[in-house]
């Protein structure tokens, strides 16, 4: 077993709010420079930049997990992680099916482009990716689990777009594989003030939108080797 340093919430240039410097190569190199062994690509309501980042990661020696930061109908941001290209395509189809067809205005929100390894544009997402999809949080959790993915509500303590801001508190019975805290919160303090959440695995990630943010928060997880299987085992194994 190794202790893998993981940052499981990273945006790319595809997210309208993602910096132009968040290209596949920059992300992978910055993550390696920060000593990370596992990252997840989690753009808003899209998985389309994942494959290129994973390919660059394979070449450079960094494990990359496919993911998305899904905005639920309640406008709660939730992370979904999947393992295979097949699962990613199913997740992508689900997101496209449920995202409202509101055109993006790049002047206001930013561009929604995904690129190849050489930073050549591969495509542009037409609809605003930060909208809420028309599925409630329990439906999203159910879907992600139905395709074998992992479901982690993001930055749950933040005053905007979080489980706690939108729904008041973590609903009893929510089927989450872990809960994510933002980099602005001390996990030990948070857990001591929120003992009702002690049954959950708590992770912390950077929610990086700029290259310099990558690895600014991370979680060390015990696993055989860095990757989805290791993450799944680390998150879902009962803990103290």
């Amino acid at each position: 077993m190794i202790s893998a340093k993981a940052d499981l919430h990273i945006h790319t240039f595809l997210s309208p709010c993602g910096d132009i410097g968040m290209t596949p190569l920059n992300i992978v190199r910055q993550a390696k420079a920060k000593g990370l062994q596992l990252i997840a690509v989690t753009d808003h309501n899209s998985t389309l930049q994942g494959p290129v980042v994973r390919r660059v990661g394979e070449r450079e020696g960094l494990a990359v997990i496919y993911g998305a930061e899904i905005t639920t109908r309640e406008e709660v941001h939730c992370l979904a992680y999947v393992e295979t290209e097949e699962q990613r395509l199913v997740l992508q189809h689900y997101l496209e099916q449920h995202l409202p067809p509101v055109p993006n205005n790049p002047d206001i929100f930013g561009y929604q482009l995904w690129v190849d390894e050489n930073e050549q544009v591969l495509g542009e997402a037409p609809f605003l990716l930060i909208s809420g999809i028309d599925q409630g949080i329990d439906q999203v959790a159910g879907f992600v689990h139905s395709i074998g993915g992992l479901f982690v509500p993001a930055h749950i303590e933040r005053p905007r777009n979080s489980l706690i801001s939108q729904l008041g508190f973590v609903p009893p019975g929510l089927t989450a594989d872990a809960l994510e805290l933002s980099r602005f919160t001390n996990p030990v303090d948070f857990c001591s003030k929120n003992t009702y959440l002690k049954k959950y695995t708590i992770i912390q990630s950077s929610d990086a939108h700029y290259p310099g943010d990558i690895g600014s928060a991370s979680t060390s997880l015990l696993m055989e080797k860095p990757g989805f299987e290791g993450l799944k085992t680390a998150l879902t194994t009962p803990h103290e």
Binding site: P159, I164, S165, Q166, L167, G168, P171
Partner: protein, 111 residues
């Protein structure tokens, strides 16, 4: 004014929690952020929202709200209905949106 009188005057649909129809309405609060309602709504208020998650009934109970009105024709989730019954708080619905529903309730309460 009771919840029942309000529901009749505003032509609201009763989803669940009929046991709460005789409660008194002390005011209204319109918000879709549950954390905001938890912090700022007062006991006896009717809460107008588009959120349908079961946590709305938990918060209505915690804050001792008199009723909850779902707007825009939204239907409650099944576990939301169950919690409304359990907490005996009337869960109502309207096809109107939050602005007009709030306006109609305001005019009713403060003629």
């Amino acid at each position: 004014m009771t919840v029942k009188e309000m529901a009749e005057a505003l032509n609201l649909r009763v989803f669940a929690g009929e046991e709460g129809l005789e409660k008194q309405v002390a005011g209204g609060y319109t918000s879709d952020l549950l954390s905001d309602v938890m912090g700022y709504a007062d006991a006896g208020m009717v809460w107008i929202t588009l959120q349908t998650h079961k946590n709305i009934m938990a918060i209505a109970s915690l804050k001792e709200l008199s009723a909850v009105i779902l707007v825009k024709g939204f239907e409650p989730d099944d576990d939301t209905l169950a919690l409304a019954r359990q907490e005996q708080i009337t869960l109502l619905g309207t096809s109107g949106q939050a602005f007009e529903t709030s306006g109609r309730l305001y005019r009713l309460l403060y003629p």
